[in-house]
Symmetry: C2
Subunit: 197 residues, 2 copies
Amino acid sequence: MIDSNRPPFGGNGNHLARRVLRISHVLSNAVQEILEKRLIRETAEASLSPSQIHLLKLISMNGDHFVGEIAAFLGVSAPAASKNIDKLARLELLRRVTPERDRRNTCLRITPKGRALVEEYEARRLRALEPVLDAFTPEEGRELSRLLEKFVTTLIRVETIDTRSCLRCGAFYEGECPVRGVTGHCPYERARRASMP
Amino acid sequence: MIDSNRPPFGGNGNHLARRVLRISHVLSNAVQEILEKRLIRETAEASLSPSQIHLLKLISMNGDHFVGEIAAFLGVSAPAASKNIDKLARLELLRRVTPERDRRNTCLRITPKGRALVEEYEARRLRALEPVLDAFTPEEGRELSRLLEKFVTTLIRVETIDTRSCLRCGAFYEGECPVRGVTGHCPYERARRASMP
DNA sequence: GGAGGATCTGTAACCCGGTTAAAGTTTGCC
DNA sequence: GGCAAACTTTAACCGGGTTACAGATCCTCC
């Protein structure tokens, strides 16, 4: 109240900025460690990398994709994508299919085993987050969601100068994602548009 | 308003949880990509990894450390820490010093060049975040900070069963960090306590 | 309608950072 | 004083990334 009409920055002596920097660093690591890597280890028999599970999630939720699209989605080179696909194919979590339409391409298709793994992983993520959100009142939860979203979309909009960095945002298999509007130049979206009829 | 007295979960049909999962995933990647890796590339002449810059930051802000402490702090094995140290020593960003007290240990000490790099990096991080926070009113900024903090501390408290995962939280070179209270069993803190007199 | 360039995937060789196993020093205890 | 313990480093390996290049297929154009 006393300082509610300060300019957005400055008066705080960067205190807020330093605090947000630190917290978002910890959050970033905690999310990846607790809500992703650990749950992957618990879910998959063989050890999978986050890239590999995101790849599976993409083709599970969004249908068949070409290797080039996968590479753009993961933000890696085509050979790197190919090696990830090799591993997932060995584990029978996906299949390579050569489409008749253009036999240069290779199409990746989820297998039942792969789909089951993705579903199990997503269920575990929900279960893991549940007790965390229980600590928030409904209003707080909505406000958390709103502010997280505003923070990340602003960050991406303001700081994404180069068009090359891919955030593996997965804004694409979940229709109403707010990030989508910001990432018009996302390498995945470009690749996907290019290969769509 | 209409649903403000729902139970924390359930009524929402997991909608909030799914949304938070997705946003926190994107946030996690965006923070690492935009506020860390990219700024490291812009700051350092040679290419450094996030681990390496965190190592430098630790000994720059918190004084000399032994190799074992560094390994615990980074959450990696001692050989991995040693290799990171090799690289930073080659770049003259830190020095190895054998303390007289116990010559089995190796003490890592920041060099002026290393300190300058850390300061430049931190300044860049602040500058990068500034325009993002400018999009928030002061109240929103404080609320963002509060909710981020509550989210991450709850996540760590609720989900950290095993004592082994290190979040590179850096709760240690910044005195008043709220994460500190949650991570009593942090491997870094244990190592640090053990080697303190 | 075939030659040749473009496009897509996969292979080869390499790099970097991680791991475990084991070796090298130094210390402390009996 | 010898031997176990502690700490760091070296060695050998692994996984996932990169670039350069090879192979296959398609498209264009003469």
